[in-house]
Amino acid sequence: MPVIETKNLTYTYPGGTKPSISDVSIKIKKGEFALITGPSGCGKTTLCRCFNGLIPHFYQGELKGEIKVTGLNILENPIYEMAKHVGLVFQNPENQLFALSVEKDVAFGLENLGVPREEIRKRVNWTLNLTGIYDLRERAPHELSGGQQQRVAIASILAMQPEVMVLDEPTSFLDPLSAKKIFKVIYELNKKLGITVVLVEHRLDLTARYADHIIVMDDGKVVLDGEPREILSSEEARLIGIGIPKATRLYHILKKDGVKLSNTVPLSSDEMANLLKEALKVHD
């Protein structure tokens, strides 16, 4: 059974002249790592806001079609109910952080879920270490740098260990090595705890390798939906202008030149290097 399922979902913001998403029908399975990408302004963030009920309960506007997340109908369940199942990391961390210390911000969600005090302490420490901000725990979130704030925002959602984690460009302010580490943490939680991950990203070079499923949106609609290797090889994906990883690009260019390479499309530099080693018969 899918953990997220939408049927002909169409939504217009209050005062909007046209729908921001239209006719979106998708299924995301339990335990999947799903990646949503597409041109800026195509409706990715709007779709994320539907997953925990911010749309329509907070943003109002007009929502048509059906949407069920963790078996619950969004229209019939208030945000506080959905928050028990779905965690959302906002695109702009400043919109999410409010407490006077990092530790309190990370603990806030757990306190609201009524988690016992000792367990809160344990989970807060665990997640602060995981995201590399244990040393910042006493600092005020609004005094931190953009990258540090993003870590706090991610930590506060991780701490709740929700069934579904929705992350909207969660590492845009982080340096590449830190971003890579955070994605690895998210991937490991996805595999170990079976948390379903929905990630909105433009930087597919960092993230495509983790995805089981890619959804490409354009102008409010879902235009491609399927297996990453297939989607990233399609001419449509390139034409819409999504950032195909360079390793995947190089593979396709060499294939076009008639080079014999295995048929498994690489999504990362490691995979591409291995294919080349095979073709060149080197053993590094």
Partner: protein, 274 residues
């Protein structure tokens, strides 16, 4: 020209963000400042338009010391686009946002109209001109902020993380625009973590770590130097990573471009087949 002479900077809370930075950026240069979070990149570029003044050392913009000219005077020359667009947007429509600085600089109404139209068009925002920037997506808000600065055509342009939230096509447009600025002898300085974008532009790269500059040179030299990259928390571009994983082939080290990689690999693969 921007001259930074042995600059130290300490924030009021005691954090020493710059520890002896010296750097010269000539007119018409395209420079990418990279490095880990907290390395002092944003602090450094905030010195270029006088938003911050050195605690020690000095910064000269076209030979004028930044402590001796007002930020308002410098702003005409040095355009600055913040990392987070929400820190700079405030008007009711995208159009007003872009016109705001032009009005402040005292441009004529007809010129303002033309410049606003030009900027909206350049960044693909014309359809949103009557819409509040806060109704737009993150990537679109970033472009409104960019448009509002480009509109007054500053001689030096500082972009803090310009590619955040931008799709590949928008990045390509930005790249083309920067190249165009370069041919007009304008200076473009970007602060970025976007390694693949830098690999495509091949600018001069200044790498920072803990308040100091640790490397300075051509992108294809710096982005393929694993040792300094690791120090600065940067991951090499994918093409460089692929080449690094095949050391026994003794491939050229400074390759970051897909098509250059293709040429080299085709030669190898073809001679291999013979």
């Amino acid at each position: 020209m921007i001259e930074v002479e042995d600059v130290y900077f300490r924030y009021p809370n005691g954090v020493e963000a710059l520890k002896g930075v010296s750097l010269t950026i000539k007119n018409g240069e395209f420079v990418a400042i990279m490095g880990q979070n907290g390395a002092g990149k944003t602090t450094l570029v905030k010195h270029f338009n006088g938003l911050l003044k050195p605690t020690k050392g000095r910064v000269l913009v076209d030979e004028a010391e930044t402590t001796k000219v007002s930020v308002a005077t410098l702003a005409r020359k040095v355009g600055f686009v913040f990392q987070n667009p929400d820190h700079q947007l405030f008007c009711e429509t995208a159009e007003e946002e872009i016109a705001f600085a032009l009005k402040n600089f005292g441009f004529k109404e007809t010129i303002i109209k033309r410049r606003v139209q030009w900027a909206l068009n350049l960044l693909g925002l014309t359809q949103y001109k009557k819409i509040s920037p806060f109704m737009l997506s993150g990537g679109e808000r970033k472009r409104v902020a960019l448009a509002s600065v480009l509109a007054w055509n500053p001689k030096i342009l500082i972009l803090d993380e310009p590619t955040i939230g931008q799709d590949y096509q928008q990045k390509e447009k930005l790249r083309q625009f920067i190249l165009q600025m370069k041919t007009q002898r304008k200076t473009v300085i970007i602060v970025t973590h976007d390694v693949e974008f830098v690999a495509e532009c091949n600018p001069r790269v200044v790498l920072m770590r803990e308040g100091k500059i640790v490397a300075d040179g051509e992108a294809k030299e710096i982005l393929t130097n694993e040792e300094v990259l690791t120090q600065a928390s940067i991951v090499p571009p994918q093409i460089a990573q692929i080449f690094m994983q095949m050391p026994s082939l003794q491939l050229p080290k400074n390759i970051i471009d897909v098509y250059e990689a293709r040429e080299i690999l085709l030669k190898m693969l073809r001679s291999d087949a013979k």
